[in-house]
């Protein structure tokens, strides 16, 4: 846990400095009339102090490295996460341009074929039924306006 704790505590320490600075800019007010920056400032101080504490704890700790190394070495499947995330970002970018039906269909195909390696019949069948199911549930039943995009066929 030592190395990962050092990394994460440095991150939070930096983050707390930024928040403290921004909170100060918002105006701390005084104890009689606390301003909008008061609570975030206090919370960022707490976060900063605790990050320091965690950092000190990590530096003084020896051994027990094994457990965590195991957690980090299970990274056999990290490509899957990267692929999924990339697909999601692309989905976010294209959803309003290409429309819900088109994007969703492609997303499910990608997830099943590239992230998992399913056979094409399974992929197409699942993508088709999942898209249709969501469309019926959200658009038709719950009356949520999903982006129609280029396939502007539905009302």
């Amino acid at each position: 846990m030592k190395k990962s704790d050092l990394v994460s505590s440095s991150f939070w320490l930096t983050f707390s400095f930024l928040v403290a600075g921004e909170s100060y800019r918002l105006g701390l007010g005084n104890f009689r009339g606390p301003g909008p920056g008061f609570l975030p400032f206090v919370a960022s101080l707490v976060l900063g102090v605790l990050s320091l504490l965690l950092m000190v704890q990590a530096i003084h700790r020896k051994g027990e490295e094994k457990e965590v190394q195991e957690a980090w070495s299970q990274r056999g499947n990290w490509e899957k996460i990267v692929y999924t995330l990339a697909a999601l970002l692309l989905y976010l970018f294209l959803l309003e341009k290409l429309g819900f039906l088109f994007c969703t269909f492609l997303l499910v195909i990608f997830l099943l074929r590239v992230v998992e390696t399913q056979r094409w019949p399974v992929v197409i069948a699942t993508a088709f039924s999942a898209t249709l199911f969501c469309y019926i549930l959200f658009q038709l039943w719950l009356k949520i306006q999903l982006p129609s995009g280029i396939l502007g066929i539905y009302p």
Binding site: R32, G33, L39, P40, A43, S44, W72, K80, L95
Partner: protein
């Protein structure tokens, strides 16, 4: 008498066909969510919240509550048959439940889990029925300083009981409070940390954050780990426990119910902690502690009773104080507020149909769950066979569409994906999501209580120690913070809601 007429009124609400239907939907979905590993009640309730916008607040709350306590039933099925907890509160059920199943006693294990859940669930609802009006009355006397101290205590208890490092849990609580201050400041009217993003002007939405943390982040973790599961191929027979089983389990169920209920009420407590504590207590009290872990029925009955009792108990702080005890209750609170209701001591007067209707529906829901989980167990075993590669695109899809449907814009979807990635990384580095979520909800209440208190007292912090209730709560919180440093130990529990 007031309670009795309240309960009767509640049943008249809960028995209306539509509400009854929503109660059934709730417990059905709850059982499903409980059975499916890698998908818990918090994510499920967040995902389904948008779909309740067009029904009455009573029906919506009845359904969402049903998902929560229904998941407690379903979770045990997966633990016993597959040795993977369907949700976190059933982790300990694996220890003895799966061993029982390996010995060919899957039937009695599932049976006692369902009966223990029913008994404890019903007990906690009865206690909820009688205790909450009293507490609501008491809470009417709470002013801003008392609320402030109570919220501080709640966050401290959560950090104290959280799995892993307490420092990290407190850090997540602090981060949650920082995140909760995003958006317009109610008192001064100025915008904080929005940086021109329109979607942040109303504050960071709880629902997309929860979907990210407990939905998408879970998918990422599962994709990485590859869930291997082996379903026990055996005929499940003899679901009704024998007289000997009952004799062995009875004490555990009683203790589990009481323990679970009181741990459930605690702000920051909840079903997960209750189930672990019950297992530890049973092991300690047992005449044969060495047999725990080899398939003893007490090891299933106690924790299963405890997690159900806790699920009932957790409604008390929400309904009477307006303070959620755990992330699931936090989402329910969000749901009530979207429907224009303010949970708290006034709820019982302002919306008696919600207050009593939900309580009464829980009696009915528990009875439905017993039927769903005993005679129909075969269906759930089939559900367990749905492969994860079919399940995860659906979970992702639901997270995307549900978060879009909140406000019909891409902002919430972006927040959901962001917190999905952040949640995955945070867990990877050994932090927990629950304190962050709870602090995110409690943050605005904490800030309002703090600033009002200071305005009342003209800037003197003594106001928090002048009332005995507030002082008592703060002293308790402080001692929980200091205690682990002195004794170098605190109950270590595995993580996640």
């Amino acid at each position: 008498m007031e309670v009795l007429s309240g309960v009767l009124y509640g049943f008249s609400v809960a028995l209306q066909p539509l509400n009854l239907l929503y109660c059934f939907f709730g417990v059905l979905i709850g059982t499903l969510v409980g059975v499916l590993p890698g998908f818990g009640p918090a994510a499920a309730i967040a995902l389904l919240l948008p779909s309740t916008f067009h029904v009455s607040p009573v029906a919506a709350t009845i359904m969402l509550a049903g998902i929560y306590y229904g998941a407690m039933y379903g979770g045990s099925t997966t633990s016993i048959l597959v040795n993977i907890p369907g949700e976190a509160a059933s982790v300990v059920t694996c220890l003895d439940g799966y061993k029982m199943a390996r010995q060919g006693r899957a039937g009695p294990a599932l049976g006692i889990a369902a009966f223990a859940s029913f008994i404890a669930g019903t007990f906690s609802i009865v206690a909820l029925t009688f205790l909450s009006p009293v507490l609501a009355n008491l809470a009417l006397r709470f002013g801003p300083p008392e609320y402030f101290s109570l919220i501080v205590l709640g966050l401290t208890i959560l950090a104290y009981l959280a799995g892993g490092s307490m420092v990290k849990a407190l850090m997540m609580a602090a981060l949650g409070i920082i995140l909760s201050s995003i958006g317009m400041d109610i008192i001064s009217g100025s915008y904080r940390f929005t940086y021109g993003f329109l979607v942040l002007s109303d504050g960071l939405g709880l629902i997309p954050v929860v979907m990210g943390f407990f939905g998408l982040a879970e998918v990422f973790s599962n994709l990485e780990e590859k869930l291997g599961r082996e379903i026990l191929e055996q005929k499940i027979k003899g679901l009704l426990p024998t007289c000997q089983d009952w004799k062995d389990a009875w004490g555990a169920i009683t203790r589990g119910s009481l323990l679970g209920f009181f741990l459930g009420i605690l702000p920051g407590g909840g079903a997960i902690i209750a189930s672990f504590t019950s297992y530890a207590v049973e092991k300690k009290l047992s005449k044969h502690p060495e047999k725990f872990g080899s398939g003893v029925i007490e090891g299933v009955a106690g924790p299963e009773a405890a997690n159900n009792a806790a699920a009932g108990g957790a409604f008390i702080p929400l309904l009477t104080l307006g303070i959620p005890a755990n992330p699931v209750m936090a989402i329910l609170l969000g749901g009530l507020m979207i429907n224009g209701l303010q949970p708290g001591p006034l709820l019982i007067k302002q919306a008696p149909d919600v207050f009593w209707g939900v309580i009464a529906s829980m009696y009915l829901g528990n009875a439905m769950l017993l039927i769903l989980n005993l005679p129909l167990i075969g269906i759930w075993v089939k559900v367990l066979r749905v492969p994860y590669h079919i399940l995860f695109p659906l979970i992702i899809l639901f997270c995307l569409v549900s978060s879009y449907s909140l406000n019909n814009n891409m902002g919430d979807v972006t927040i959901m994906v962001f917190f999905g990635v952040a949640g995955y990384l945070i867990k990877k580095f050994g932090y927990e999501g629950a304190p962050l979520i709870l602090a995110l909800v409690l943050g605005p209440m904490l800030e309002e209580a703090l600033r009002q208190s200071l305005i009342i007292s003209h800037g003197s912090f003594a106001v928090f120690f002048e009332s005995p209730i507030s002082a008592g709560l703060l002293v308790l919180a402080l001692s929980l913070l200091i205690l682990p440093w002195i004794t170098h130990r605190r109950p270590a529990l595995p993580s996640e809601a």
